[in-house]
Symmetry: D2
Subunit: 356 residues, 4 copies
C-alpha cells in the first residue's frame, strides 16, 4: 500500500527512480510565508552531491533543484511545495548485465519477489538516489525550524576505526571529505578507504546526527515518540542496520546508578547534569541536545565475485563494476541530517497543534 | 496530535494509565472469521504479567483480559476488537511523595513540560503498564499470521553480561525467569541481579526477537520499510534506547567482502548462505529469519538518592521506593514479541492489499 | 482495513456493538488542561438517549458515560481520553428470528457478504447505537472549541413536510420532541408520525446543523477541505443518503448573478451580504455561519411484510417487530451536532499546526 | 497540515498551481505489473481538456500527460507513479487587476485569511486546473479496477433544466458537448447557456456518476464507509455544494414502505428489486449499480459588477473578464468519474487487505 510519504503535519512524499528522467518530492503542510529560495535548498543538496571526492561515486550529477509549486514571490504559500531534480548522468548500460541477476546485499531479489517486476537500471527505486529528495525536503524543514535549532552530522566510525570523541571538533567536519570531527582519524580513514578500494572491497560506517536548540516538549507518546519516529526515519535510509539514541546500546551494560541523567535547577528551567539519554525521555525532548547514531553497512556493490542466483533460479556469480561509493556511509550524513530536520519540523507542528 | 495508534491496515490503539480503573486497546482491521478465545490471549498476557519471579516487580496484577467487541460466537467479526484489563493492585499512595518531583530518567519532567499536567500516580500514561495492551494486541496479530510464522524472544544480555551465542537453546528460555537461551548465563544473571538489588541499583538488557516462517516480500519501501517499522515499534517500548537488525552495528566494521549474504538456488527459491542482514533487504523480507535486537536502559527507579528538581524549580533529591523491576528488560521480551507480531500482521495485510 | 477512526489531530476511534457488554470510544489528541466532567458529557448524551418520547425507540438505555483514561483532577491530560457506556436494555431474543434473514434496507446482507460473519443481535456494529459514542466525543470536541463557537441542530423536514424557514425559532427546538424550529410544523409532524406508526411504516427526515462563531480560515485544501470532511462525517451517520452545504442542490439552478455572496468591509474584516455558500469557500471557512444539511432515509425496520432472501439464498418475507424509531432522523440531530463539533475541533487544531 | 493526498492503500497526492510551470500528482500504492500507457491516460485527460467546445473555457491547454516514475517497460512497478502536465497557456496578466481584490464566490478571501499569502494568478492552487491531475490518477485507478467495472458520468441538470430520466441514453452523452444523456435536453441547454453567456452570467449543474460491475462488499464501516468516502471525494471538487447517493434527498420524503429495496434470490446471489439505495447499504456496496450525484454552483467569475472588498479592506466592485467556463459543471463530469474510480480502487485494495 501507499508508503512513500512520511510525517503527519509536515509530510514528505518522494517519487522517482535512479534512471528515470527525474526524481522529485512533495512537501505538504509547510507553514505559509516562509521566505525560501532554490539557492538555499541547493546549498544542502550540494553537500550530498556525488562526485565531490574520490571517496564517493564518480557519477556526475549536478543535482540542481527546482521548486515547481507552493512558492510565490519567494515565499511558501502553504500549498504543496513540489521540487524536482533532473537525472543527468545515467548510464543504464552499466546495468545491462545485472538485469537478470540478484546482487547479494542489494534489494534486487526482494523487489522481484514482492512486485514481480523490477526496474533494474541503477537499482531503480531502491537506489540511494532517492535520498537526494530527502535532502531537499530537509532544507525546507530547516527553514520551518528556524535558526535556533541547529542540526549537524558527522561520521564517527568507518570500518573498524572509530574516532576519539575527546578530539571532536565540529569545524573539522568541513575540512575533510569524510565529515570526520577528529582530524587525526580523517587521515587514517583516507588510508583505510584507499586500501579498501584497491582490494575492490567496501566499508561500513557509523553516523551521528545532533540537534541543538530543540525545545523541551516535542514528541508524541506513545506511538509517535520522538525517538520512535527518529528510529523509523534513520532506519529508512538505504543500508542502515541500526539506530541508537544517546548512549544507546552502551546503556544496556551501564549500572542503574549511572544511567539516568540527574537534574539541577537552572536559569531557564531545569538543567541536566549529563545527557546519556540523548535528549529524549518518555519519547519527548528534554531540551538537551538530541543525539542519534546509525550504522551503515558496507556498500554491497564490490569488485569481487560473489555467489548468487539469476532471476530464473540458476546459480551464478556476480562481480559488480561501475561507479560506486566505497563507503556509502559518508554521503549518508546530509541525509541523516535531513531526516532529523523533517522529523523535528513535523513534531514542532504536531506539538503546536495539540499543546500550542 | 493523535499518536496512540500504530499500524495501517492492522491498527492498534491503546489507552489507559497505570492507576486508572482499567487499560484497554482497540485492534482495528482484524480479518474476520478468525477463531480466537480470551484464553488464547491470556496465554500471552501471562508471560508478561508482573510478580512472577523475584526479578520482576511485586505489583500483583492478574491482568485478566476481556474481549468487549468485535467478537461473535468465538470468532473475529472484522469490526473493532476491543479489549480491557482491570487495574487491581494500584497503590497510589506509594507515589504521593513523587507528585511534585521529577524523577531522573523518567518521563516526569517531559510530560509536565509538554502537557502542563501529569498523572503522577505510577507514571500515568508513561508507565510500562501500557505495554500489557500491546501484548493483548500481539496475541491477535499472531492469530492473523497463522502458525507457520513463529515469533520468539530472548534476553541476550543483562548488564555487562552477554550470552554465549553458540550455547543458544530456545527450550532454555522457558526454564529460567530471564528468557535466557544460554543455561550457564542464566545463573550468572541471577547472581548479578541479586547483587544489583542488594545495592538498590538496577540493570539494563539487550533483547532479541526472531520471527521464522516469514514469507519473502513483506515490507513497503521507502517509508514503510519493514525494518523502519520494526525500529519504530521497538523504540516505542518504554526504556528502549537502541534497535538493530541482523548484525546491526557490527556491520559497520565488517569488510564489504563479508557483509552481504550470498545466495544459491534451493528447492523453494533462492537460499541465503548466511543471514547477516537479519532477513531484510531494501526494507523487504527475504524469507530468512527476521532478527531484531533492542537495548533497554536500566530501570530508572532506584533506591539511591539522586539529584533532581521539583516541579516548582527547587533543587532536591529523590530516592524511589516502592515495587520496581530491577531489570525492566526482562518483561520487555513478550512486549517485543508482540510488537514484532503486530508489525508483521500489518505488513502481511498491506502486502495482500497491493500485491496479493 | 482499519477504518473506525476519524479526524487527524483530534481523532476519535469508536468500538462496540449493539448487544455487546458495552460500547466505547478513544478520543486522541485532546489538548491538555481542559476542565471537563462526566456530567458535562452526560448532558449531551441525554439529548440523544432513546426512550425519551413516543417518537423514538422504547429501548431503555440510561447511556451513562464513564471517563476511564486521559483525565486527572478534573482535567484532560493530553493522553487518550477513553469513555465507555454500558449496554443495559439488550433484548437479543427480539432478533432471534432475524439471524438468518437479510432485512431490506439494512446492512445485514452487505456485512455478511463482506465479512462472511455477522453479529445479528440488534444489527451489531451497524446499529445506530454506535452513534452514542460520537455524541460523547462531540462533547469533548465542544470543550476544545470553547464557548464562542455554538453548534446547534434542527430537523427541517419529516416525510414530505418541510418547515417554514421564516418561522425559524431556535428556542422552539427545545420545546417539542422533534428538534423542530417551527412551532406550527411540530404539531403537524406529531400527527404525521402518529399515522405513520399506526400504518406500521416509518418516515425520513432532513436535518440541519449550524455552527456560529467559527473563525475564518479553517479547512485544509484540497483533500481536507472543511466541506469535504463535513460531508464524510455526516454521510457516515447511519441512514444518511445526502449532504449539502449552504444552499446546496438549490445552487445548481440559481443564476450566476445570484449565487455568489457579495462582500462589504465591516468592523471585523469583510462581511458577507448573504450566506448561500454556507460559510465555506474553497474548502475554507469564511467566518459566516456554517450550514450543513443531511437527508435521512426512513427507518428500514417496519411492520410490513417485505420480500427478501435468507442467508442461505431462499426467498422469504420479513416483517420486523421490536422497538424501533419511527423516524431515525430525529435522534440524528445530536449526532450531527457531534460530528460537526469533532470536524471543527480537528480543523481548529490542524490550522494551529500549520498556520497558528 | 498535510492535506493534499486522498485514499489509504491507493493514495493520490496532487501538487501545482494554475500558473506555475507545471502540475503533477503521485499515485502511490498502485499494484505492480499493470500494463498502462501514456496514451491510455491521455484518453481520459482529453475528455476534461478545456477549449473543446464553446461552452467551456477558451484557455488552450494540450494537457499532455507524462509518466515520470513508477513505470518500466510499459507496466507499473508498484513504486510511486508520478505524472506531470505542463501549463502552457497561462495569461497571468489577465489576473493583474485581481491581485488585491477578493472575487465573490471564489476562494480568494479564504486563502488570504488562512495563509496570509495567495498566488492570485489564475486562482493558484484553488483553480480547477488541479482537477486535471485527478483525471490522470483516475485513469490509473480504472486500470486497477479492470474492465468489468464501468464508470460513467452525465450532466443531469443545467441551471433549472433537468433531464427527462426516462429518455436516458448513455450513447447520447458522447454526441453533445454537455455529457447530456437526454437528446432533447441537450439542445435546450445549448440555448440556455448561449443566453447565459450573452447576459455575462453563468449556470450551475447537477452531475451523476454511475459505476456498474462493482462487487458487493466494498466499503469499510464505520468511518471509511463507501458513501462517506464518495461524499468526501465529490465534495472536494471545486464548486461542489451537495452530494447524494441513490435517491438521496428524495428518500427523506419517501414513505418507509417504499424506501427500502426488496430482494429476491438470483442466479448470482441475491438480487435487488429496485436500487433506491444507490448500491450502498451500511456503507458497503450491494453489487447494484453505484449512483452518486453532486451539485455544482454556477461559475463565480461573471461579467457583472459585484460588490466586494480589497485585501486592504476597502469597499470596491469587481467584474471578472478573461476566459471562463459558463458552466463549470460540464467539465466536472470526467473529474467526478475519476474520483469515483480512485475511491473504488482504494476500497478494492482495502477490501483485499482485510477480507481478501
Amino acid at each position: 500500500m501507499a508508503s512513500n510519504s512520511f510525517g503527519q503535519v509536515f509530510r514528505v512524499t518522494t517519487w522517482g527512480e535512479s534512471h528515470g528522467p527525474r526524481i522529485g518530492c512533495v512537501v505538504d503542510g509547510v507553514p505559509p510565508r516562509i521566505p525560501i529560495s532554490e539557492d538555499e535548498i541547493q546549498h544542502w543538496m550540494d553537500r550530498r552531491r556525488p562526485g565531490t571526492s574520490r571517496y564517493t561515486t564518480q557519477r556526475r550529477e549536478p543535482d540542481r533543484v527546482s521548486i515547481v509549486s507552493g512558492w510565490f514571490e519567494g515565499m511558501t504559500t502553504g500549498t504543496p511545495l513540489a521540487m524536482t531534480v533532473e537525472n543527468v548522468d545515467q548510464r543504464s548500460r552499466d546495468y545491462d548485465d545485472l538485469s537478470s541477476v540478484w546482487r547479494p546485499g542489494h534489494a534486487d531479489y526482494t523487489y522481484d519477489v514482492k512486485y514481480g517486476i523490477r526496474d533494474w537500471r541503477g537499482s531503480g527505486r531502491a537506489s540511494a538516489r532517492e535520498t537526494a529528495m530527502r535532502v531537499a525536503a530537509g532544507a525546507v524543514a530547516r527553514k520551518v525550524l528556524g535558526e535556533t535549532i541547529v542540526i549537524r552530522g558527522a561520521v564517527v566510525q568507518i570500518g573498524p576505526h572509530a574516532i576519539d570523541r575527546s578530539a571532536w571538533d565540529w569545524e573539522e567536519t568541513g575540512r575533510n571529505p569524510f565529515w570526520c570531527p577528529d582530524c587525526a582519524m580523517a587521515s587514517r580513514w583516507a588510508d583505510h578507504l584507499d586500501s579498501v578500494r584497491k582490494e575492490g572491497s567496501s566499508a561500513g560506517a557509523v553516523i551521528e546526527i545532533r540537534a541543538s536548540g530543540v525545545p523541551a516538549g516535542l514528541g508524541s507518546p506513545v506511538y509517535g515518540k520522538l525517538d520512535s519516529d527518529l528510529a523509523a526515519a534513520m532506519m529508512s535510509i538505504n543500508a542502515v542496520k541500526g539506530v541508537e539514541i544517546g548512549d544507546g546500546f552502551a546503556l544496556a551494560s551501564a549500572p542503574g546508578t549511572e544511567a539516568a541523567d540527574e537534574m539541577r535547577s537552572g536559569g531557564n528551567g531545569p538543567q541536566f547534569l549529563s545527557n546519556r539519554a540523548g535528549g529524549i525521555l518518555g519519547g519527548i525532548s528534554t531540551g538537551e541536545e538530541l543525539i542519534v547514531r546509525f550504522a551503515v553497512k558496507p556498500t554491497s556493490s564490490i569488485f569481487h565475485e560473489r555467489r548468487t542466483v539469476t532471476n530464473e533460479g540458476q546459480d551464478t556469480t556476480v562481480r559488480v563494476t561501475g561507479r560506486h561509493d566505497p563507503c556509502v556511509g559518508i554521503r549518508a550524513v546530509p541525509v541523516g541530517e535531513a531526516m532529523m530536520a523533517c522529523v523535528l519540523a513535523d513534531h514542532l507542528l504536531r506539538h503546536k497543534a495539540q499543546c500550542g
